[in-house]
């Protein structure tokens, strides 16, 4: 995994502190080409990995990448699935069963639910597998070295104690795609304990890690202790703490933590992208 990963929140109007900034981002990144141009800026600065949610607009970005294989030969995408709002809106409207019927390919569910037949455990796992495949379609022929489960799903399963489904997701990504499974969470220490309990060793876990303690559920201390004492390949996201910490302080903190393999960041301007990358390099150099 690369040390620095380029994220996608800025492209899809995800801003944790301001709706107004969100709107400004929507306007700026109205065209897919502008998104790819910004990814290219990050690539030119040495960050060849783009981590993104399986948003509909990524379909087109992937298409543009496929059209220029030479230019993007070192480029890879880390998909994060599912794009939760799509399903959340569907559940509001169609209910849980209706949503599965709408989004899971194949028609055997329709007959199964309507007939009220008993569903076997393996069928639930195959629903999950079909949904993974459906989300992965857009990345055909693109290098995807890690496939992530989005935090809203990871954490839902975590709270419900559904460790076997997390394990099944993990195993399926390896079996079907021969790449590494990853998990995004807002509850890193709890998730790591659950993954270890089903025999998953040294997992890739992406979570908020920042000097402000923002979205580090249970408190920073338990996160820092977990990073010091456990085996985990951590990816730090929300390193600026939702904008609460100046970039220099923020990056110095995460660069110096043990077991943080990668740092995920998003930015819209060339200046901010360049500054973040150079600060990470600077603090990594000092550590050596």
């Amino acid at each position: 995994m690369e040390r620095i990963l380029f994220g996608d929140n800025q492209f899809f109007a995800v801003n944790h502190i301001s709706d107004e900034k969100s709107r400004a981002q929507s306007i700026k990144f109205k065209e897919d080409k502008t998104i790819l141009d910004t990814i290219d800026i990050a690539r030119d600065l040495g960050t060849e990995t783009f981590m993104c949610t399986t948003h509909d607009r990524i379909i087109n970005i992937c298409e543009m990448v496929r059209q220029d294989p030479e230019k993007y030969k070192n480029f890879s995408i880390l998909p994060c699935m599912p794009y939760a709002h799509k399903y959340a809106n569907a559940v509001t409207e169609l209910g849980i069963v209706g949503t599965i019927q709408q989004y899971v390919p194949g028609n055997f569910f329709g007959t199964m639910f309507k007939g009220g037949l008993a569903v076997m455990s393996k069928d639930y796992i195959s629903i999950m597998e079909l949904m993974v495949d459906a989300e992965m379609k857009m990345f055909k022929k693109i290098n995807t070295p890690v496939i992530f489960l989005q935090n809203v799903v990871t954490d839902l399963l975590l709270g419900l104690g559904m460790k076997d489904i997390l394990k099944a997701y993990h195993d399926y990504v390896i079996k079907k795609y021969n790449v590494e499974p990853g998990f995004i969470t807002m509850n890193m220490p709890k998730l790591l304990a659950m993954l270890e309990s089903v025999g998953i060793e040294n997992p890739i876990i992406c979570s908020s890690i920042n000097k402000a303690g923002f979205r580090m559920s249970g408190g920073m201390e338990i996160y820092e202790k977990t990073l010091r004492e456990k085996q985990v390949r951590a990816i730090a996201m929300q390193v600026l703490g939702g904008g609460a910490i100046p970039a220099r302080d923020a990056l110095e903190y995460v660069c110096n933590l043990p077991n943080v393999s990668s740092i995920l960041f998003g930015a819209s301007s060339k200046q901010n992208i360049a500054q973040t990358i150079s600060l990470i390099h600077e603090f990594d150099e000092k550590k050596k």
Partner: protein, 338 residues
């Protein structure tokens, strides 16, 4: 450990269940839902006892507290039964279809001294909490006018009918979206008791409104405007905001950003004359388990703490939710200036 059961494992119910599952003081003793498939998954993968009949569940598992997350039209009957069994209750919003039912249930809960809370999670958001603090402290002076808004992309085309599109079952933008804003205005400004006019407009739906616009007045004679639309595709998700204009200043706040203007230097600590901006990140307390916003975890934690007697049962009570239901009914009665 508090023994908790859930009735209704839909979107909100499952979300509550996950947060409860991670809560250190909670033991989940049962789940009741009418979907065999949902029950089956919860039994197989979470190990919860599930039931299709909620009364059978209550008899079997004897919970201390129950979360009710079923369509609003069932609330009145279910909640009365649960109160009669002396169970503490967390009920999803809106509380009841008729405010008379809400008032009656509130009175029973009070008399039986049962902890009662409704899921208006905005009151657990740091920015809105701060707005309440600034206004209650009199820092923007006498309030003259308010604006409450909510927009989001729920219904963006003509679609098949579900209970959400049936006004008799608690569907529509007024019950679903506008109730949040009304509840917040009641809490932050003052209880609304007059509706001077309202427009309930369908945009894509056949039977229910997709937008609500109303002219309101509080019992303290403050005027205000309500503007809510759930067929607004320029929003990525629901966005709720309030503007409050006072003699000494003005506040504009949504769930992430609070902007406040003070006319003079007579303002609370941490603020100064002119415009001030605060972000929810500075106003939010850490939670132990995060699923989809600190407020969802915080409201559940508050409910559990109230049962344990660690906090007063004074946030989002049945009584406050009944006042919200009353405003909803006033808006309906004034519909299109009837």
């Amino acid at each position: 450990m508090i023994k908790v059961a859930l009735i209704g494992a839909g979107k909100m119910g499952i979300s509550h269940l996950s947060i409860l599952g991670a809560h250190p003081d909670v033991e989940i003793v049962g789940v009741a839902d009418t979907s065999k498939m949902v029950n089956d998954v919860l039994e197989k993968y979470s190990g919860f006892k599930t039931f299709t009949d909620y009364k059978k569940m209550l008899d079997a598992v004897k919970p201390d507290a129950v979360f009710v997350a079923i369509p609003t039209k069932f609330h009145a009957d279910f909640v009365e039964e649960l109160l009669n069994r002396n169970i503490h209750l967390f009920v999803e919003k809106p509380f009841c279809l008729k405010y008379e039912q809400s008032e009656k249930l509130s009175a029973i809960a009070k008399e039986k001294k049962l902890i009662n809370q409704v899921g208006y999670h905005n009151k657990f958001i740091g920015t809105f909490d701060e707005v309440k603090r600034i206004i209650s402290g009199g820092h923007i002076g006498n309030i003259q006018h308010f604006l409450g808004e909510a927009y989001g992309p729920v219904v963006l085309k003509k679609k098949q009918d579900t209970w959400r599109s049936d006004p008799e079952e608690g569907g529509g933008c007024l019950m679903d979206y506008a109730s949040h804003v009304i509840d917040l205005l009641n809490h932050i400004v003052a209880p609304i008791n007059t509706v001077h006019g309202s427009l309930l407009k369908p945009i894509y739906s056949n039977k229910v409104e997709d937008a609500v616009y109303a002219l309101l007045e509080t019992e303290t004679k403050i005027s205000g405007v309500l503007s809510v639309n759930w067929s607004e595709e320029t929003y990525r998700k629901m966005s709720t905001s309030i503007t409050v204009i006072g003699s000494e200043g003005k506040i504009i706040s949504d769930a992430s950003e609070l902007r406040v203007y003070f006319k003079s230097a007579k303002c609370p600590t941490g603020y100064s004359k002119g415009w001030n901006v605060k972000y929810v990140t500075d106003l939010t307390e850490q939670v132990d388990f995060y699923l989809r916003g600190e407020e969802y975890s915080a409201q559940i934690d508050y409910f559990i703490k109230a049962i344990k007697g660690e906090v007063p049962n004074n946030k989002n009570t049945f009584e406050s939710a009944a006042k919200t239901d009353k405003v909803i009914s006033l808006i309906k009665n004034k519909k299109n200036n009837a």
